[in-house]
Amino acid sequence: MSVKYDPIVYKDGVRYFHRFSIHQRIQHVVLFSSVLVLAITGFPLRHASEPWARPIYELVGGHQYAPMIHRIAGSVLLALFIYHTIYWMVLFYRNDIGKLRRENNLTLRNVGKAFLTQEMVPNKKDLRDVIHSWKYLLYFTNRPPRYDRMSWREKFDYFAPYWGIPVLGPAGVILWWHNEVSHAAPGIVMNAAYIMHTDEALLAILFIFFVHWYNVHYAPEKFPAARVWLTGYLSEAEMIHEHYNDYVKVMIEAGLENEIKPQHFGGEKYEW
């Protein structure tokens, strides 16, 4: 967090805009690798009676090792969840509460307000953007919505695991330590945990392998893969396409007001 990133860098004459710090990128790598491991060691078990289940399960360790691998990956994911929670709290404290304190404005109301303006917290604009994007998609307007630093879809993508892990994780822990849990809770808790774990996991898998992968892999402009998770920087064209408001803001802050390009329209410049 102490590392300062240039908001704009140039490479081969193209402007790149800073999106994710190395810290965040590492968190993402840990997140997706543990989720992939969890999916491959968990999904065959969910559909154990299907003919493909056993060969895949055998490939990832079989009944002897796959559960252990699953639990290790699950622990990593839970740890990451806790770490990430602390991470944004620290960021919030440093950037916003610290500022309020310096300005002697530290009231509950102000803290609440500051929280609501965090880049990941959904706000009224997101609701309007949802409606706007449907209007755009159904050809009612030719102007795509102008997103801020985080669009509503990215926020949803973010909250999918951020809601999913607290549902899946504890349920998984209950199933893992079923013998110990039975001393403290009735057996039906295991039934509840079982349903939570399997069905929420299915949602996560369905979502990641279609919606999220569409956003970063299948979409024509991203195919075969987006690179922002590696470099942390987004090209100018993508920035204009996806975060026009933020693009304008960053350009003004960098004093490049005269070089701001107009918003893409109906894909006229933005194809392959």
């Binding site: 009676s49 299915l202 369905l206 279609f210 299948y218 024509p220 195919f223 194809e271 392959w272």
Partner: protein
């Protein structure tokens, strides 16, 4: 130009992705709303297929012979995969292969002999590796003797002599105690008479006859009694009144089936002529029960 091609590729890609999206929607549906009921659906389907009116006895027979289920027994060091026959206690240990190529089997089933009580099981054993025509169809007067060849039970294609038949010789040599038996008979092939037309050999009953049988089965319910008889006669035109006698093959000199040419090794040939069963039957034939070796139709006469 390049831009145009790019644009077309782009549009094709987008359309493909749209199709993928729709497919994903279908794919997800059972995942989200569960797999439940799949087994039950399978069971009820089986019930529907295997139930039939009593008049359709032949069809019931065939249904009974169809291997409905398989049974796997995992011994840890060996997996026994065999057909499941209800009520059977002893293990089978091999696959019962249906003869899909022979036209007779379409109606008479794979174990067609039911009448002669004493020998029906033995006769059915023969239909494991002999086509019906091998015994029940003999050349007419003046016709040259049949040629015999092996054919594949699945595809009906003519084939060379089975390799497995040669291995019988070795398995005899490997026997150490008299409690062991060489196991043979599972070649996936059957012997059938063949006709040769312009140098090309084909089964006595070819695809045309099979088509005739299929048509008859499909239309049977709509046919009158007379029409049925007529069609039946047409289908059975190459069959002879009385079958080839057991002795015709189970003898040393000039067996009816050219066993040696069909690949039978010496030990097996010797057994075919001198097996205890054959000897036993021969004795009956000669001294005691002359009728036993004859099929039922002949006995009634």
């Amino acid at each position: 130009m390049v831009k145009r091609i790019k644009k077309i590729i782009f549009k094709v890609y987008v359309v493909c992705l749209m199709t993928f999206t729709v497919w994903y929607g279908y794919f997800m549906y059972p995942l989200i709303f569960g797999f439940e009921g799949k087994e039950a659906a399978g069971l009820s389907l089986e019930k529907a297929v295997f139930s039939g009116s009593k008049e359709e006895k032949i069809f019931q027979q065939m249904a009974a012979e169809k291997v409905k289920e398989r049974k796997k027994t995992d011994l840890g060091y060996r997996l026994i995969d065999q057909p499941y026959i209800q009520g059977r206690f002893h293990h089978i240990g091999f696959t019962l292969q249906q003869d899909k190529a022979n036209i007779c089997m379409r109606c008479h089933g794979n174990a067609p002999h039911t009448e002669s009580k004493e020998i029906r099981a033995f006769l059915n054993m023969h239909s494991f590796y002999l086509a019906c025509e091998a015994c029940h169809s003999v050349p007419g007067d003046g016709e040259p003797p049949w040629q015999f060849r092996w054919y594949d039970k699945n595809t009906g294609k003519l084939s060379g002599n089975p390799r497995a038949i040669l291995e019988i010789e070795d398995s005899y040599k490997q026997l150490q105690t008299n409690t062991e038996n060489p196991v043979y008979g599972d070649y996936g092939l059957k012997i059938s008479p063949v006709t040769t037309e312009s140098g090309k050999a084909s089964l006595l009953h070819n695809e045309k006859d099979m088509a005739m049988v299929e048509e008859y089965i499909a239309e049977r319910d709509q046919l009158s009694a007379d029409e049925k008889t007529e069609r039946n006669n047409a289908i059975h035109r190459k069959m002879s009144e009385s079958p080839v006698a057991c002795k015709a093959c189970h003898r040393g000199e000039e067996p009816y089936l050219p066993l040696a040419d069909l690949g039978y090794p010496p030990t097996r040939l010797g057994e075919l002529i001198n097996s205890p069963i054959v000897a036993m039957l021969r004795k009956y034939d000669e001294f005691h029960m002359p009728d036993m070796m004859k099929p039922a139709q002949e006995r009634e006469k």
